[in-house]
Symmetry: C2
Subunit: 251 residues, 2 copies
């Protein structure tokens, strides 16, 4: 028996994603980074800038997963309500964190601008900070919830500071092989292989590229030897179906 | 009083999105298309290829929103479980739909390949079909849940066939203006404007581009005259803060 899996949920907070104005790129970055550390993202939600929606989503997911990571809504304007919502979810007051305030005050500004900027120092009572390597205001952690910026560059700087700080499980490895066959030509062999390698997740992802249909077969699991054995069987199945295994990748 | 808002949730079904292997692009396309028809995406979830997760998410969201749109998991392989999950969510048997089966059978194949391909004809009893303009197997609609492919080209072909078929609300319009100012320099003016235009959603989206910080101010609402009036005030606020309103967009 190896280490147990550690699970996570990502909450992308922002009307701009739901309206389609901005395509989200944070989920993909977080999923890859956490996966590399041994934390499995099991769910993601995109939710609007609305208090009840955020509070409910935080409370539901923080009880269900080891970790919850939020992006967005921690800037200085009226629509930045994430910190207030986290405080409400945990039923604690919101306070001005002296370390964030001190960092903000190193850049001088007129009083009304400074007052707005200091909104970014507001955290739920009991929160600890997430370093922001861009030099801007920090994010924060409240229990198992990590609250990060929405701007990808800033979010990435915050996330990278967490490396080595979190509980991790086994790192899920993968094997990928591409077949220029219809999925149906492989389906029954794949079902048989999946049944014999129950602990490894075998996904079939069809695509249409350069005027050709193909499918990527992705095996994900923690046991490298079993992954290699399964890959060999999948390659054989491709050959048996009249195809050629191509572009094998090991990660 | 105009038409009431019509709301939607998008369920992206697929381990490959959660592992980070594949960045999702379907949500953005669906959000823009539905928004243009007068349907507001209020939530999106990315969930794994697991029966209970899919059933629970479908049942929770179909009761909460006017429409639910799913992508992924309707191919011919063992990991394509969406149709079964929708049947389970609605507590109806799964059947082979004669129209999908007929389309699949127009392309000949050996018996085992055909058997796999016919998995794509399985729909919950009572489902109606969503045309697939690529010529492949159709998607299906079960009550207010629309089940579409995960391959973007196929999903888009299915979605486009729904235009004009759905209930729609007022189309949300937007005005966008960019300011190369810190958000904090505008924050108090924006709060004041938002308070006076309560029915319009004013979002402030900071960015860092070409070595400059700026913020996009996005106003979204259904009343064009009010949007224009609000835009004028936001432009004035930018000028008052020492900036220049740039790149005004009307949509």
């Amino acid at each position: 028996m190896g280490k147990p899996a550690i699970t996570a949920c990502v909450l992308v907070i922002g009307n701009e994603i739901l309206s389609g104005r901005t395509p989200d790129s944070n989920l993909n970055h977080i999923a890859l980074a956490l996966g590399g550390w041994g934390i499995e993202v099991r769910e993601a939600r995109v939710i609007p800038d609305m208090v009840d929606e955020i509070v409910d989503a935080v409370n539901e997911t923080r009880r269900r997963y080891h970790y919850v990571f939020t992006t967005g809504g921690i800037g200085p304007t009226h629509d930045d309500i994430t910190a207030d919502c986290i405080a409400k979810a945990f039923e604690v007051p919101i306070i001005e964190h002296p370390d964030i305030a001190a960092r903000i005050k190193t850049r001088p500004a007129p009083p009304d601008v400074m007052a707005s900027r200091l909104r970014m120092a507001r955290v739920p009572e009991g929160a600890t900070l997430i370093e922001n390597l861009t030099g801007g205001p920090q994010g924060f952690r409240m229990d198992n919830v990590f609250v990060m910026a929405g701007i990808p560059m800033v979010m990435q700087a915050m996330l990278s500071s967490l490396e080595g700080q979190l509980d991790t499980g086994p790192v899920v490895r993968s094997r990928t092989v591409t077949a220029y066959l219809g999925e149906s030509q492989l389906a029954s062999a794949l079902t048989d292989i999946q049944n014999r390698f129950a602990e490894i997740d075998l996904g079939s992802y069809p695509f249409f590229k350069n005027e050709r249909y193909g499918t990527s077969l992705v095996m994900r699991g923690v046991d490298e030897a079993r992954l290699d054995a399964m890959l060999a069987e999948v390659e054989q199945a491709i050959t048996d179906a009249g195809g050629t295994p191509e572009d094998v990748q090991t990660q």
